[in-house]
């Protein structure tokens, strides 16, 4: 008897154990290590245990750090705004204008498939398109729109933002599509019967109900852009910096404690931004 009473109560703990152990070993412990190492000291050859604040002092007092953070925030703001705009209308179109469930699923998959191939491949694929002799420049020159190649298309902030929008818009589309699909269509009928215009329905009914999806999408995009280094390195051709790239460079130079201090600051910043988004919407309630 005891066994059959105990088993159901024990079961969730046993079932949750593997997840807990993996996250403890590969998430909690590594972050604790980063915090610890951020107080360590280093020279050109090795890192060694200590308790110094120099890593933080050097990071915070350097004007390079500040401009890098500002640049990262600039990318975040622009990419967030663009992915939100594009993502919302794509999700809206799929959810409200496509009438059959099959067509919805097919079109949604069409949007998802490119996301499943390598980010780096998707980045290099912009090069023959945007480059100085690229497709876009050639076409515009042949059409007589421009008389010499536009240089800003590749290896520039423009290219970084374009590639990020290409890579991350889906992270906005999916959660917004998900919440839009759950809106009771009767609410929209009711609003229309009460005489609301299409625009009023959008701003007073649909957007407020889509908020959780917008919040989840925003969290994805903000954290992806804040930590991104590979897109910035590739698409800016090494001419722009981001916090992630700064860390990657410090890692390459084996300045682990400096990279760790940077990582702690980045983590705090990301958590603050996510916290701010979560204050607006309660996501757990929506799952």
């Amino acid at each position: 008897m005891t066994r059959s009473h105990l088993a159901p109560r024990l079961a969730p703990y046993l079932q949750a154990t593997p997840l807990t152990l993996i996250l403890a070993a590969f998430l909690v412990l590594p972050i604790a290590t980063i915090v610890m190492v951020s107080f360590w000291d280093y020279d050109s050859i090795q890192i060694f245990p200590a308790f110094v604040f120099t890593n933080y002092e050097e990071t915070i007092s350097s004007p390079v750090t500040w401009s890098t953070y500002i640049n990262t925030l600039k990318y975040t703001a622009i990419v967030w705004a663009v992915t939100l705009f594009v993502g919302f209308w794509v999700a809206y179109y799929l959810a409200f204008h496509i009438r059959s469930a099959t067509a919805q699923m097919v079109l949604f998959l069409v949007c998802t498939i490119p996301f499943l191939t390598s980010n780096i491949i998707r980045m290099i694929s912009w090069i023959p398109f945007l480059g100085r002799n690229g497709l876009l420049n050639q076409t515009m020159m042949n059409l007589g729109i421009i008389d010499k190649p536009l240089e800003f298309l590749l290896f520039s902030d423009f290219a970084v933002v374009l590639a990020m929008v290409h890579l991350y818009t889906l992270f906005m589309v999916t959660p917004i599509f998900n919440t839009l699909m759950r809106i009771d269509r009767a609410l929209i009928e009711a609003a229309r019967d009460a005489g609301a215009s299409g625009w009023q329905i959008l701003t007073n009914v649909i957007i407020p109900l889509a908020k959780p999806g917008i919040a989840i999408g925003s969290i994805f995009v903000v954290t992806l852009v804040m930590g991104d280094f590979i897109t910035v390195r590739f698409m800016s051709g090494g001419q722009s910096a981001s916090v992630g790239l700064m860390m990657a460079n410090q890692i390459a130079l084996l300045q682990y404690p400096a990279a760790a201090a940077n990582a702690v600051i980045l983590l705090i910043l990301v958590l603050l931004m996510v916290g701010a988004i979560l204050r607006i919407v309660n996501i757990r309630k929506e799952l």
Binding site: A7, P18, L23, T117, S118, P128, I219, V270
Partner: protein
């Protein structure tokens, strides 16, 4: 279904959607075409003849940087390990979260944190932790763990979605008929959620197969495929790069098609069994 006339908004949004799809696929089509560049062709248009030269070069000749075959087989193995672990662990955790248990809140937030902590931080942290504990990082240990921190949250979120739509009446019926909890799980719950589990596996595999940032500091002395691709992008200036892009993309697509087909077959078989 609503039956009112399609307004101008519909056409504007259709155009917007078509542009979005072109934006997604356009660049990939470009490198797909350019990977068939002739033997003397370069990295950009115009095409200088058409050949399979760069595919041959990629698959059968020794590259200046690293080895493509080794990197591919490591990525494949790592992807399969990540896929299987993700399916089992997220299924178990998904079952756990159906009931209240002490610490479920913190565990949920920890899983979400795993998703939002920037990848490079995970990479650095695991690399440092292995260093501090005197362990050598390797693709099957540290990189495997790093990939799980990325795939498990997605897996768990999918399981949440699955179990939120799961009708407990099926389980009650099985229990009333005298099934043990294990029988209920194997004969009732599992067949119903199997397509979603394949989805979780597909997600786990492709996320791991394409993961770069989390692998950077955790793969040890042998490269995985994304690291190999990264190495090639900085060194290689021939269309062999595009051939690599085409081959890996085609492989990803093949995996997706296989997964979708098996989901469709499972659905059909279940429908037939219910009908018969």
């Amino acid at each position: 279904m609503n039956s009112e006339r399609r307004g101008p908004g519909f056409y504007v949004l259709t155009a917007f959607f078509v542009l979005f799809v072109l934006f997604l696929y356009g660049p990939m089509t470009t490198i797909f075409i350019l990977s068939f560049q002739g033997p003397n062709g370069g990295l950009t248009f115009p095409m200088n003849g058409v050949s399979l030269r760069w595919f041959e070069n990629l698959l059968f000749e020794q590259q200046a940087v690293g080895d493509f075959g080794g990197a591919f087989s490591r990525s494949l193995m790592l992807g399969i390990m990540t896929m299987l672990t993700t399916v089992v662990v997220s299924l178990l955790a998904g079952l756990a979260f159906r009931r209240r248990f002490l610490g479920s809140g913190p565990l949920f937030y920890l899983t979400i944190a795993s998703l939002i902590v920037p990848s490079i931080l995970i990479s650095l942290g695991i690399g440092l932790a292995f260093n501090v504990f005197g362990l050598d990082p390797a693709w099957y240990s540290s990189a495997f763990g790093a990939h799980l921190t990325w795939t498990l949250p997605f897996g768990l979120l999918i399981m949440f979605a699955v179990f939120n739509r799961f009708n407990p009446a099926y389980e009650e019926a099985a229990r009333d008929l005298g099934a043990t909890p294990w029988q209920t799980f194997v004969h009732v719950v599992l067949p119903i959620i199997l397509p979603s589990l394949i989805g979780v596996g597909l997600f786990g595999f492709t996320l791991s197969y394409d993961e770069f940032a989390r692998t950077l500091m955790t793969s040890g002395s042998f490269n995985t495929l994304p690291l190999e691709i990264y190495g090639m992008t900085t060194n290689v200036t021939t269309p062999v790069l595009y051939a690599l892009g085409t081959v890996t993309t085609v492989f990803s697509m093949a995996i997706i098609v296989v997964a979708l087909l098996s989901i469709a077959v499972l659905r059909k078989r279940r429908a037939r069994r219910i009908a018969g």
